[in-house]
């Protein structure tokens, strides 16, 4: 009798939730007992049918949801981590695990007041715990909600290994990075196609003696200008950022902006780029970085700033550093303050179980001992439930 009542409640609230904690958790037994009349699911219990991040709730935690292929191409032309892209290519699908940090940020975004200045969220955690993936999950949510997404996949890439460094035409003391800027503009165009025709410029921009962009032109034209004229692409980036900041909070503006920056600590770190006289370039002297700093400042409203730290690509930081005030430094922390820090930790038992079942389902674990209990314990010990360590470990089993 009680089981039937439970089944009705479950059916009403959740589309097809099944928690999978295999060590005899109550949820599993309840769910299994409560769904006897339903059709047997075509997928396994670690998968969720819900591929819309907006509808994902706490009882989806640990389950994998599939990214629709169309979304992958538009929303993430450059956003996903490299290893995840390889995994997507191998498994022929992109499955992201629903985890508490991302769900927390999404719930804040759902309830936020967008007339106030933009909220800042920061994902931090030990190396390989899933900060970038949580960021991508949140970006997917924003994009499904119809927001405009400004996604900088890794700010560290802009402060190191720069092949071409031009002095900026706009401000003599700064330096441009045309290649990186053009690349980014291209990806930005892919992500936000539908907004490019809707947003109009508010200012007039003069690029050279003969080229200028009038007021009131669609943003798409600005972006194309930056892609075609490589020399002025960094300034175009700056202009785009300025426009978006101005227009995002406006009531007649029809969009909300989500700024997603990975590797935020690059903004207040050091760079390895050198000028011709071998003196190092500081961060302020780079146009892209300068504009990015302006972007993550929360003096605009109508959106959110979601960021993640990263020690992996960072320069001159110790390997064991992962806390915000260590990686951002004093200046960065003061600039970013106030923000909402969100911890991303290693997999819990349930999430680990889910990941293990997913790899088994994809037949990624070939070794016969990996299917036994002892094998699972070995995996737990060796990877310490760290997502990236587990992924690298399973790569050659």
């Amino acid at each position: 009798m009680g089981l039937q009542r439970v089944s009705f409640r479950l059916r009403q609230t959740v589309a097809c939730a099944r928690s999978i904690h295999t060590s005899g958790c109550r949820h599993l037994q309840e769910a299994l007992a409560a769904e006897p009349e339903r059709n047997p699911e075509p997928f396994s219990i670690f998968r969720s049918q819900e591929s819309d991040p907006a509808c994902q709730l706490e009882n989806h935690v640990g389950q994998y949801y599939t990214l629709p292929p169309a979304h992958i191409q538009t929303v993430f032309p450059h956003g996903l981590p490299a290893r995840f892209q390889l995994q997507m290519k191998t498994f022929n699908e992109g499955c992201v695990m629903v985890r508490p940090p991302a769900l927390e940020v999404i719930s804040y975004l759902k309830r936020a007041d967008y007339s106030k200045p933009a909220l800042r969220f920061l994902f931090y955690g030990v190396k390989g715990s899933g900060k970038t993936m949580s960021l991508c999950h949140t970006v997917h949510y924003c994009s499904t909600q119809g927001w405009l997404v400004v996604h900088i996949p890794d700010a560290h890439l802009w402060v190191k290994n720069c092949k071409e460094l031009l002095p900026s035409s706009y401000n003599g003391s700064r330096f441009d990075q045309p290649l990186q800027a053009t690349n980014w503009l291209r990806n930005f165009r892919v992500t936000n196609e539908q907004f490019l025709s809707k947003i109009q410029t508010r200012h007039r921009y003069v690029w050279t003696k003969r080229e200028f962009t009038e007021e009131g032109r669609p943003l798409g034209e600005l972006v194309d200008q930056g892609i075609t004229r490589v020399k002025s692409s960094s300034d175009v980036v700056g202009a785009v950022i300025k426009e978006l900041r101005l227009q995002s909070g406006q009531p007649e503006g029809c969009f909300r902006m989500a700024v997603a920056v990975d590797g935020l600590n690059a903004l207040w770190g050091r760079s390895t780029i050198k000028k011709e006289d071998k003196s190092p370039v500081s961060i302020e002297e780079l146009t892209l970085m300068h504009n990015l700093r302006k972007l993550v400042k929360n003096d605009w409203c109508g959106g959110a700033i979601i960021t993640a730290l990263s020690q992996t690509g960072s320069l001159y930081t110790p390997k064991t550093a992962y806390l915000p005030h260590v990686l951002l430094g004093e200046e960065g922390f003061d600039r970013m303050d106030p923000f909402v820090p969100v911890t991303v930790s290693n997999y819990s038992e349930k999430e680990f179980e889910s990941c293990y079942l997913y790899y088994q389902d994809r037949q990624w674990l070939q070794h016969p001992q990996s299917r036994t209990e002892e094998g699972k314990k070995e995996l737990v010990f060796m990877s310490n439930r760290n997502p990236s360590a587990l992924e690298r470990l399973c790569a050659f089993i």
Binding site: V126, E374, F381
Partner: protein
């Protein structure tokens, strides 16, 4: 001196009637004396000195040893009557401290029986006639031993027949209980018999001993009990190696959780590990997570191996402190320390399994010293022809 030497020899093995010392025959006697033992033969064929260890010489050495033992006990202020060999070793190590690595090169004082190789006694008298009836077999001791074993077998069989005739044959007679021991190997038999023993001879010896030991009533009490003791002279005791391991005792902390501590070393790394029961299988090294301290897969695997082998992966928590050496030697030190600490949680059999898996053996390899005249420990300088 030579006369007394000959007389002592003669009196000891007094079969020769011509015991009255005849100085003219002394030299001939001496020239026919002791053949050196097979051990010496093997080692230096060129320089075997037959007169080196005569019986008087050995006796003199024994007396000197005993007197020296009493002097040493006096010097150390200990009891002269009950001065054992261990006490002697200890005192010598104290009085003559040596930094030599080779233990056999250090000063020692042992009973002459252990120092001087055993030698075969003279086997023929002054008239040239051998004493033993089996001398002309060439291996008199070996064949006499075989005859002895066979005599015992025959004796037992006859006794059994007698008992059977009387009807007192008990069917529950047990054969000899040999315990955890093994038969002596060929080299040991050669040492007892003082002659060269071929493989074939050794096989025959083993067969005969097995036959004797397998007889029912060989282990029975009474006169046959003596046989048991006699047979055991040819058996070598095997101690289970693992019982020599020092097992770290389990202690309980304030919450009642059992834990054990142990240390381990490898190359120049030292590590001490605390294993706690009832945990979730977490491992911490020097305060940080295992994953961050040992980023290399090989090191983590080394640390995991003892726990996986014993099957306690998710049960015990590991807290390790390690210092010195490089990453691989630190991992090896932690592994050894974990294995030692695990002994308190395991049974005897599992301990033996671990010992056989090599988990409890400290790795003796250390860095070899560089030698003068060479580039490194082994690498030589480039050889130039001219």
């Amino acid at each position: 001196m030579a006369a007394s030497c000959a007389r002592t020899v003669g009196s000891l093995f007094g079969k020769c009637g011509t015991c009255s010392s005849n100085i003219n025959t002394i030299t001939s006697r001496l020239s026919r004396q002791i053949c050196s033992s097979s051990a010496l033969h093997r080692k230096n064929l060129a320089a075997a000195g037959p007169e080196k260890f005569t019986v008087e010489f050995i006796q003199k050495q024994v007396e000197e040893f005993n007197i020296g033992k009493r002097h040493l006990a006096n010097m150390m202020g200990e009891d002269t009557e009950n001065f054992t060999q261990e006490d002697i070793d200890r005192s010598i190590a104290y009085l003559f401290p040596s930094g030599l690595f080779e233990k056999r090169a250090r000063p020692l004082m042992k009973h002459p029986e252990e120092i001087f190789p055993r030698q075969r006694a003279v086997q023929w008298g002054e008239d040239g006639r051998p004493f033993h009836f089996l001398f002309y077999t060439g291996k008199q001791s070996y064949y006499s031993l075989m005859h002895e074993i066979y005599a015992k077998i025959q004796g037992l069989e006859r006794q059994q027949d007698r008992l059977r005739a009387k009807g007192l044959l008990s069917s529950d007679a047990k054969p000899l209980s040999l315990g955890s021991s093994r038969w002596i190997i060929k080299e040991e038999l050669e040492g007892i018999v003082m002659e060269t023993v071929t493989d074939h001879d050794y096989q025959r010896f083993l067969q005969l001993m097995e036959r004797l030991a397998g007889l029912p009533q060989a282990g029975a009490e009474g006169a046959e009990g003596g046989e048991g003791v006699w047979v055991l002279r040819f058996r070598q005791q095997l101690e289970a190696q693992a019982s020599r391991q020092a097992v770290a005792a389990l202690q309980a902390d304030a919450q009642g959780r059992a834990f054990s501590t142990a240390e381990g070393r490898r190359k120049t790394s030292n590590s001490s590990v605390v294993l706690r029961d009832g945990g979730s299988g977490r491992a911490t090294v020097n305060g940080s997570e295992l994953l961050s301290y040992f980023p290399v897969f090989q090191d983590r695997e080394q640390v995991m191996f003892p726990l996986q082998f014993a099957g306690v992966l998710g049960r015990l928590d590991v807290e390790a402190q390690v210092s010195g050496g490089g990453r691989s030697s630190q991992a090896g030190a932690v592994r050894l320390a974990i294995s030692r600490a695990l002994l308190g949680f395991l049974s005897e059999r599992e301990m033996e399994n671990m010992r056989q898996a090599g988990l409890l053996t400290p790795d003796p390899r250390v860095r070899e010293r560089d030698k003068p005249g060479q580039e490194g420990a082994r690498r030589k300088f480039t050889w130039k022809k001219r």
